[in-house]
Amino acid sequence: MIPIGATLGWHKLRHGYLAMLLAMLVTVAQASEPPVGTLGVVGSDTMAGLMLRWGEQLGERHPGIRLQLQASGSASAPPALAAGTTRLGPMSRPMDEEERQAFARSHGYAPVEVEVARDALAVIVHRHHALESLRLTEVDAIFSQTRRCGGERDITRWEQLAIEGRDGRIELHGRNPASGSYGLFRQLALCGGEYRRRLNEHPGSAAVVAAVTESREAIGYVGLNHLTPGVKPLALEDDEGMLRLPEAEQVRRGDYPLSRALYLYANLPPGEALSGPERALLELILSPQGQQTVAELGFVALSDTAMASQRERLGLDDPRP
């Protein structure tokens, strides 16, 4: 491996490919007895692309494994897990207390929670907008009519933010109520308040980006994986007065105020080992290749320590029983 890198100008290449090629060779070498089976997965539609991509890679590593995905929203995962119709449930938010209890009632133990990636909501404006950052209270005062986060007055015009050369009414863009982003933004940025009526509720995140790309008066929020150069993500000022950009490092550490984790929940009785296909899937997800896929799709990959600690917790590094 390494030698050809040297001939081809190694230092200019990105580490990702080396890691990927290595990972491929390693798994190929490992595959002595191929795991076989169908993995039924029920849950989040935000993570549908991610799961599909992992499924594809899994199929390449182990042709005997097939992933069947039913992406009908995060809320569909807990009931399916509790009832035992699926053993894996991706969710774009943590399970709440009620869902955990329902699971424990039917199985007698808690589900295994695996953090598989990180994500964040970015507040975006037009690419030539003069605005660079906002305080969280300002975000609230712009988007909500309740101002629960403690803003002093409603902000409905750009003049109110004292930006040079920008006036006019602020045009608000967001998601429709059924989406996860709508709820998450409301919870994190509006302190649980109500959105303004003026909000344009788009049926998809791409539509939000498209709208903000075209309009200089617009502001909106979208998941990180939807950002394009047509829009500018704003830095947010947190409670300590630090400016936080929605960049990989800030999101990974959770410093960026609107960041969240993406989870995969598994039904695993204590003391039992993962089945072959499940192990293979988690092995893939918590590997450099799997995490590179995360970054490729616009989410934020886990930190190495988070990856390692979860591998250890799941016993992925142990030799197979």
Binding site: L13, V28, G49, A206, A207, E296
Partner: protein
């Protein structure tokens, strides 16, 4: 013509002209829309020339211009370039101020690679070589020819792998699912796995060393590359061939990269399958209803009422049909079916969620009035003499109906069904509720018993447009694909409608009957 000026038709005043203008305006808008969709849809597949742009700050990028917008307050214009190389830049777009562009050229050695991941690469090909090459062996310089040969070989390997998956692996897995301890099946599986691994190993063998326009290098495993071309060095004939190839791939392949690239084959398949099922459901009902209304029932107040009701149903918004389908078919009937037959998988629904069957049923209801009205029209147009003649010759009413009237009305029925199909193919709103899927890699027909999976979700062309345009990860990148899909959908529907019009015309001409007032 002495009094020519006077004898001309008198002026009709401004209103007549405005009326004429509204025809012109409608035609203009229709033409404009068709032109827009047609041009943008077809241009997507054209291997456009790639520019290398040098900026005044020394930056160099390569790509093609997509659009141009004025900057604020007259500070010139900016241009959007599609530059690909998501893996190097983290994005595929560059907005460049036009005034800052120093040089634009079209070097012939720029290559464009279509890849399975990271989308397009635009830049230069430096070399193609083995992964295992040792330091002494410099990879070959004549990269382009070798790349082409290698891509052709990869195509073969890929289809071989597909074949293995389809013919060997999947049956084995099914067998093992049923009986996990079958030793010979396990052995066969291990063998097949090894063969697939060998194939993948063979595919993985080579990499290309690529260089972006500004000189950054990257190693590209060749098995990720689907197509490669040098747009600036292509003669017209070759471009045409590449264009045709692109159109073919669009029609024949599945979507990639979260629907923002690749083709629409599953959507075409899903649309056609749903529409077929729907016609199977709607035709007998519609025709029977029309025959009953027109031939059997006593013509009177009641039949008139029913006629009004049927026409009325044609005016009910499609979304209401969707709600009905969701409430009655999906939650009502589907939910009960699940409880009776699929209780072992609850709460994951089998039939209690949107699927092919429910979608076809809902659309069958939606298009029922279309079929009824068209068939009735055809029946009414058959001259009474035909029926009376048959009856006079001693035929029973049933014989008259089945031997004389119905055969004559067949084109009308066909017209009705085609119109229904055209309507159903373009209808998206009810499908949002009863069973389309964003991405259903498994088409609802496969080799597994019972072969046709009525409960599965399916992809649909119209929904694909909505989804790609609003839910994709990047609208700008998906736009050409959306236009292409829209063009396909519009063409299909126009073809169907034209067929219906032609049939109707033919029918009228053959029977030489006057339309009913």
């Amino acid at each position: 013509m002495k009094f020519g000026k006077r004898r001309l038709p008198r002026s009709e005043g401004p209103w007549a002209w405005l009326a004429a203008g509204s025809v012109a305006l409608s035609l203009l808008m229709l033409g404009g829309l068709m032109l827009l969709i047609g041009a943008r849809g077809l241009a997507h597949f054209w291997p456009a020339s790639v520019e290398q742009i040098e900026m005044d700050d020394g930056r160099v990028v390569a790509g093609h211009a997509v659009r141009e917008l004025p900057l604020e307050r007259g500070q010139g214009r900016e241009r959007l370039y599609f530059t690909g190389n998501r893996d190097l830049d983290g994005q595929v777009w560059h907005w460049l101020p036009v005034d800052a562009i120093v040089a634009r050229e079209r070097p012939r050695d720029l290559v464009v690679l279509e890849r399975r991941h990271h989308g397009m690469f635009i830049g230069r090909l430096i070399a193609v070589g083995d992964v295992e090459a040792t330091p002494g062996q410099q990879p070959q310089r004549a990269g382009w020819a070798r790349l082409q040969a290698r891509l052709a070989a990869l195509e073969k390997l890929r289809s071989e792998r597909e074949r293995l998956h389809r013919e060997v692996l999947r049956p084995l897995i099914r067998q093992l699912d049923a009986d996990p301890d079958a030793a010979d099946a396990q052995r066969a599986l291990a063998e097949a796995n090894a063969r697939v691994h060998d194939l993948q190993q063979a595919m993985r063998g080579e990499v290309a060393l690529l260089e972006s326009a500004d000189g950054r290098r990257l190693l590209q495993p060749l098995d990720e590359v689907l197509r490669a071309w040098q747009p600036n060095a292509m003669p017209l004939a070759q471009k045409l061939a590449a264009w045709a190839d692109g159109v073919w791939r669009f029609l024949a392949e599945g979507p990639r990269d979260g629907n923002s690239a690749g083709g629409v084959w599953p959507a075409i398949f899903g649309t056609v399958l749903m529409v077929l099922l729907m016609s199977l459901l709607v035709t007998p009902f519609g025709v029977l209803a029309a025959v009953y209304l027109n031939e059997v029932a006593h013509q009177g107040r009641w039949t008139n009422l029913v006629r009004i009701a049927v026409r009325n149903l044609a005016g009910v918004p499609s979304i209401v049909y969707g709600v009905f389908g969701l409430g009655v078919f999906v939650y009502g009937i589907g939910g009960s079916l699940d409880e009776w037959f699929f209780s072992d998988t609850l709460p994951s629904p089998t039939f209690g969620t949107g699927g092919l069957l429910w979608a076809s049923l809902t659309l069958a209801l939606l298009t029922l009035p279309v079929v009824v009205v068209a068939t009735e029209e055809g029946l009414a147009r058959i001259p009474a003499e035909q029926r009376e003649g048959a009856l006079a010759l001693g035929a029973t009413r049933f014989e008259t109906l089945s031997r004389v009237v119905l055969p004559m009305a067949v084109p009308a029925m066909l017209t009705g069904v085609i119109l229904a199909v055209a309507r159903a193919a373009g209808e998206v709103a009810p499908l949002l509720l009863v069973g389309v899927a964003k991405l259903a890699p498994q088409v609802p027909v496969d080799g597994e018993f019972p072969f046709l999976h009525l409960e599965r979700k399916f992809m649909h062309l119209g929904y694909h447009i909505y989804d790609t345009a609003f839910h994709g990860s990047d609208v700008q990148a998906a736009m050409p694909l959306v236009f292409a899909t829209a063009l396909l959908l519009v063409l299909v529907i126009l073809m169907l409608n034209l067929t219906a019009i032609f049939l109707r015309h033919y029918f009228r001409a053959r029977h030489g009957v006057q339309p009913r007032p």
